[in-house]
């Protein structure tokens, strides 16, 4: 792999990422322009005169033509309520929320810790259990452990996230509470800075909700990927060396099986945000997902664009990192 090819690879990938993010912003902007009712109308008191509405529109910079507004997003827009807008400010600004009367960046920063806590915990459970269950199931294909994990996998693959969440609440919170065991709270979020114990206690059910379906999928992906690799010649070589099962499966097979797992893992990781929307809704966690739902239904365009941008960036970066790893691995071949 020449240094030139490496720079070439990086350059095309980075350009593509940038184009993707810009395209996402443009499409979302146009979409919200078309779909949402004029925010000035919403902000004005009922029966307000046309003049009042116009002056509100001016105050929020939405009297300008749409392309100017869109352009302002990428460079520097007008100040709204004393908040600069546009990416080219420092710190970059994502605009101003009509409904909440606050800068979008501030809103996002406030909600991110909850979503991050949710996603990070689920991710940990996801990775650990998928690998463990997947490899162990592959080791004895068709054995009892394989059958049990396969049943587990089918079950949670067939339950939408919100159903899993609701059932967990019904059985683990409600029924256990009736039985006198009140450990799991049904909803809410406690920042880790306030009380780490409470933080974890409140997040256990959401973590499970988010992770179970992912484990169900990934356990199977890893299993079949390992099974495929197990029939490869180089695993036979490992056996011919007299290596132990543990070394063969966790050393040789897993590392050989990693490519498809990584690729899918990258997409799935980004999809956790999608799952977070639902999980936050079910468990009343005040994170990015809930903010998205309330903003979209109330027509708060700057917030919707900001969140879409945020998740597109997360998606693009995770897939990029995964691609980098696969690329580095393929360069060895």
């Amino acid at each position: 792999m020449t240094a030139f090819a490496r720079t070439q690879f990086l350059r095309t990938r980075l350009t593509r990422m940038l184009i993707t993010v810009i395209a996402v912003v443009i499409v979302t902007f146009v979409l919200t322009q078309v779909a949402f009712t004029n925010p000035a109308q919403n902000l004005a008191p009922p029966n307000a005169s046309g003049e009042t509405i116009d002056s509100i529109a001016r105050a929020y910079g939405i009297d300008r033509p749409w392309y100017e507004q869109l352009f302002g997003y990428f460079v520097k827009g007008p100040d709204i309520q004393g908040t600069p807008t546009g990416f080219l400010n420092w710190p970059p600004s994502l605009g101003y929320s009509y409904q909440q009367q606050r800068p979008v960046t501030e809103l996002l920063l406030e909600k991110i810790p909850a979503t991050l806590s949710l996603a990070a915990g689920a991710l940990m459970l996801w990775v650990i259990f998928s690998v463990l269950l997947g490899v162990l199931a592959a080791r004895r294909q068709g054995g009892w452990f394989d059958k049990v994990t396969s049943g587990f996998s089918y079950t949670f693959l067939s339950l939408p996230t919100f159903v899993t969440g609701m059932l967990l609440i019904y059985f683990l919170f409600y029924q256990l509470s009736l039985a006198g065991f009140r450990f799991f709270p049904s909803s809410g979020y406690v920042p880790i800075t306030e009380s780490p114990g409470e933080w974890a206690r409140h997040l256990i059910l959401p973590w499970l909700t988010l992770a179970l379906a992912e484990i169900a999928i990934f356990q199977r992906v890893i299993r079949s990927s390992v099974l495929e690799v197990v029939n490869q010649d180089y695993i036979r070589t490992a056996k011919a060396k007299g290596l132990s099962d543990r070394r063969i499966y966790f050393g040789h097979a897993l590392s050989g099986a990693l490519n498809p797992v990584l690729t899918l893992g990258g997409i799935e990781l980004a999809a956790i945000i999608g799952g977070a929307v639902i999980t936050e809704q079910v468990f009343g966690i005040d994170g990015i997902g809930r903010l998205a739902v309330t903003s979209a239904s109330s027509g708060d365009a700057p917030v919707v664009i900001g969140i879409t941008l945020f998740s597109a960036v997360v998606f693009v970066i995770t897939t990029f990192v995964v691609d980098l790893i696969t690329y580095a691995r393929s360069a060895r071949q």
């Binding site: 395209a23 979409l31 779909a35 939408p160 079949s224 929307v277």
Partner: protein, 323 residues
């Protein structure tokens, strides 16, 4: 996991159809026999049959018990304190907070789920296969452009974008411009065609390398002939199997949208809406069927399709490893 892709099943683009890989695979007929004999297939088909039966029998049941899916019977089904009963009085699974029959609504919910799932997946199959064929076969700039589109489409957060798209359908008086079912179908198809396109594109690129395509080019066959007679028959089985794989994911997609209140709207019976209603009112603590009836229905529907599609892939999909 509410996003539409079934990533456990993004196909591996290796392993051309080289006939039986082990002594056990046998002929097509033998594979068909093995498929229909597998207990997983039988269980899956039984579950799907049950759901189909429910969907077809819904009007019949409604006529027998005398409760329409959106009719309210507060007198018979709500207690003095206004809480819904959880059974009896002609209400097999009790009633919801407005006094509607949960059992009848659950049966009607099957119609909604199946209709939206099947139509949206089929649209995605047709669009995705066409795009994949063109991108894979033509290659070069066309392929790059189409791949860039797919990349961008993938970068959108499904639910968040769907939330905004749905507001497009809001008329001046806050009513729906077109039937929300079609909006949901559109959104779900929009977010799932890319997977068919990727699958087909990958397969086409792989098949294009094989020498029978060179032989066809060498004998003077044109592009259209090669795509339609040499390539399409080789990718279609995999695409159709993938349809069965994607279908349950799309049913989940519809239910999730409805749960968030942007899909099928009450009073139309959709399982997602019913669960959302159970959550919002909190009444499932007194009337568990509010939650359990649609939850179990969703579960058996998706499980049925998952079982069958996994078996289909295992037995017939040349891109699957057969495990």
């Amino acid at each position: 996991m509410t996003v539409l892709a079934r990533r456990d099943s993004i196909p591996k683009l290796t392993g051309p159809d080289r006939g039986p890989k082990d002594p056990a695979s046998g002929t097509a007929a033998a594979r068909r026999r093995a498929f229909f004999r597998d207990p997983a297939t039988i269980a899956g088909l039984a579950l799907i049959g049950l759901v189909l039966l429910g969907a077809i029998a819904a009007p019949l049941v409604a006529a027998i018990v005398g409760h329409g899916p959106i009719e309210q019977f507060p007198d018979e089904s709500l207690s003095d304190t206004g809480l819904p009963i959880s059974g009896g009085n002609g209400f097999l699974l009790g009633a919801d907070d407005s006094g509607r029959d949960v059992f009848v609504r659950t049966l009607y919910g099957a119609q909604v789920s199946l209709f939206i799932g099947i139509v949206s997946t089929t649209i995605a199959l047709v669009v995705g296969t066409a795009v994949g064929l063109i991108a894979g076969f033509v290659g070069g700039r066309t392929d790059n452009t189409l791949s860039a589109f797919t990349d961008i489409a993938l970068a959108f957060p499904f639910l968040i974008t769907a939330l905004s798209v749905v507001t497009l359908n809001r008329g001046p008086q806050g009513d729906d411009v077109i039937d929300p079912a079609w909006v949901v179908i559109g959104i779900v198809a929009l977010f799932s065609w890319t997977y068919f396109a990727r699958l087909v594109r990958g397969l086409v690129i792989e098949i294009k390398q094989r020498s029978f395509i060179h032989a066809a080019i060498g004998s003077g066959a044109g592009r259209t002939r090669i795509i339609l007679t040499e390539i399409l028959p080789n990718v279609l089985p995999a695409a159709i199997i993938y349809w069965a794989v994607q279908l349950p994911a799309n049913i989940i997609g519809e239910a999730s949208l409805s749960f968030l209140g942007v899909g099928i709207k009450a009073p139309t019976p959709s399982w997602g809406t019913m669960i959302a209603n159970a959550q919002q009112t909190g009444l499932y603590q007194y009337q568990p069927w509010l939650l359990l009836a649609p939850a179990i229905s969703l579960f058996i529907t998706i499980l049925g399709f998952n079982l069958v599609s996994t078996q289909l892939r295992r037995r017939f999909d040349p891109t699957s490893t057969g495990k």
